[in-house]
């Protein structure tokens, strides 16, 4: 296969014109937005798609028979088809959620409902009892850790963790040891939101399959940034958030293999997910409606489809290559600064376009403030990954994360600013 040409600065500067928020000043300096790992900016086409819906089709989907309702339903379901194609899934395998966090909670609550006897025999494979194990990793976002702690507490199952090595990669020797006949579910992030490490999905899926465990993939940091084919990765479930991939807040996706989604007991219940309701009991529709109770995030789903169209028109393979160049440049620049330690893999290792650092003697909050003063927006804190920060012996770090609209000049500005931090705070003395 031929490699796609990555983006280049000139093209990126053209793309950037599509993003109104990037065209502003902060503290009298041009904004350099390097916080896309937290949330991305939105192109005009996405904003227009949502507004156009409210100006023309807005009405209740799947519930009305009038013209507007029919048109709204069609746009809404077309959006599902667009997103399904984008990640190599079928339409009935795509469930709208409000964010990735909700998607992970949906799986966890579906399993605890199964464990309480809901869903009958079909749901047997989701039942957890004492002695069963859920396996996650030391490198997860809280969204892929806390719901499983709670699931374990509700069902009596035990939560275990694959440890992270000094270079930020998973200890696969430990994974081998930890994945046993007791393991019912293995869940891990595709790309770390702290270190940029890409986890070995194929190996983990193989190990999980060998013991019959379900596999959940947190694709929050991969779906926006690289070509994703969930059917090819052969995971059972996956989640991601629209706001990190050019779409509005309030929309996320849960992917599940069709036969699993149809067997998992419902999570949220209410209107539009039922067949027949009596005062005593209710019957439930198959997926995806089964998991879409109440009025859905209609305009947000339509806007997510517009975002996906934008990404596809640029080319996910090209975006991936460009960000990997930016990531390499960030790592190179940051690690050359005295007193700056990169968390996770150093130079020369393939990584996503995000890098977190600890600055000796200066707290991350102060680092971030110093950069902000130069118009550079980065993320400071634990990035919702306290255990991983503890693993690296710090409580907080400073993260720069790039996206398709960042140039090498953006990266260089961040490197240049970071180089001045320790002197300003008197930490180099």
């Amino acid at each position: 296969m031929e490699l796609a040409t990555p983006l280049a600065d000139a093209e990126v500067l053209r793309l950037r014109r599509d993003f109104p928020a990037l065209n502003q000043q902060v503290h009298g300096r041009d904004l350099v937005y390097l916080d896309s790992g937290a949330t991305s900016q939105k192109p005009v086409s996405v904003l227009d798609a949502e507004r156009s819906f409210y100006e023309h089709e807005n009405s209740a989907v799947h519930r009305g028979a009038h013209t507007l309702a029919a048109n709204a339903t069609e746009l809404f379901e077309n959006a599902r088809a667009t997103v399904a194609r984008f990640v190599g899934a079928r339409e009935n395998e795509i469930v709208w959620t409000s964010n990735a966090t909700e998607g992970l909670n949906l799986i966890a609550y579906g399993m605890s409902n199964a464990s309480l006897g809901r869903g009958g025999a079909d749901a047997a494979r989701f039942v957890l009892t004492e002695g069963d194990e859920i396996l996650t990793t030391e490198g997860e976002h809280h969204a892929n850790l806390v719901p499983w702690q709670e699931l374990a507490a509700r069902t009596g199952a035990t939560l275990r963790h694959i440890p992270v090595a000094d270079d930020g990669t998973l200890r696969m020797d430990e994974a081998e040891r930890l994945i046993t006949g007791r393991t019912k579910l293995v869940t891990f992030t595709h790309v770390s939101n702290v270190t940029g490490v890409l986890n070995p999905v194929d190996d983990l899926v193989r190990m999980a399959r060998a013991v019959g465990a379900l596999v959940v993939l947190d694709a929050c940091q991969s779906a926006p940034h690289r070509v994703l084919d969930l059917a090819a990765l052969d995971v059972d479930f996956a989640v991601f958030s629209g706001h990190k991939m050019l779409a509005p807040t309030g929309i996320g996706v849960l992917y599940g293999r069709a036969e699993l989604l149809d067997a998992l007991p419902p999570f949220l219940t209410g209107g539009s997910m039922i067949t027949t309701v009596t005062l005593e009991a209710s019957g439930y529709l198959p997926a995806p409606q089964r998991f879409e109770a109440g009025t859905q995030k209609v305009s947000q789903a339509i806007a997510l489809a517009a975002a996906v169209d934008y990404l596809s028109s640029v080319g996910m393979d090209r975006i991936e290559r460009w960000e990997s160049e930016l990531g390499a440049r960030l790592v190179g620049g940051f690690s050359a600064i005295p007193g700056v330690r990169v968390l996770g893999p150093g130079t020369g290792v393939h990584r996503a376009g995000l890098v977190s650092v600890d600055v000796d003697g200066v707290h991350a909050h102060d680092v971030g403030q110093f950069l902000d003063d130069r118009g550079i927006a980065v993320r400071v804190g634990h990035h919702c990954a306290q255990p991983l920060h503890r693993r690296f012996g710090v409580t907080a770090s400073t993260r720069a994360s790039a996206y398709l609209y960042n140039t090498t000049a953006d990266v260089d500005a961040a490197i240049d600013a970071l180089a001045g931090v320790r002197a300003f705070f008197g930490a180099s003395s």
């Binding site: 519930r63 009305g64 028979a65 309702a69 029919a70 339903t73 039922i274 067949t275 027949t276 529709l285």
Partner: protein, 149 residues
């Protein structure tokens, strides 16, 4: 009234929706299936009576809009004498017709008989489910017969 509405509710359809050919369930049947349209709560039970791989008759009961009732009535008129494979072919063609957004499909007159009066439904995406209800039930009946073999 717009021309669209007249196209949707042709007189034949309104007549069928009142006359309901084949309405009333038989005490026994070779296959039977129950279908539901969750949006409106419409329900339909459709029985298949067959001999030697050929459909003898279709009987049904249910409550629903004029489109779903007329569609079941028209299917009752169309089905007798068809082999299972022929019936499947007609169901597939009818589905295609319903998804054609008013464009129609080839050979529709020949294969679908009077049921082509439902073509106007295809312009109303929200109503396609109503028109399909009986046909999906027949499809399920045929699948039952297959499974029994």
């Amino acid at each position: 009234m717009s021309g669209d509405l007249a196209g949707l509710y042709q007189q034949v359809i309104l007549d069928h929706s009142r006359e309901k050919h084949g309405f009333g369930l038989a005490p026994t049947a070779d296959a039977s299936s129950h279908q539901l349209n969750p949006t409106c709560g419409d329900e339909l039970t459709l029985q298949l009576h067959a001999t030697d791989g050929v459909i003898g008759s279709v009987t049904w009961e249910g409550a629903g809009c004029s489109i779903s009732m007329a569609s079941a009535s028209l299917l009752h008129d169309l089905a007798p004498g068809l082999t299972y494979d022929e019936a499947r072919e007609r169901i597939a063609l009818f589905r295609e017709l319903m998804q054609s957004r008013g464009a129609g499909v080839e050979d529709e007159d020949e294969l679908l008989g009077d049921a082509i009066v439902l073509e106007g439904v295809s312009k109303y995406v929200a109503r396609v489910k109503c028109a399909m209800l009986a046909w999906v039930a027949l499809e399920a009946d045929l699948a039952q017969l297959d499974a029994a073999h």
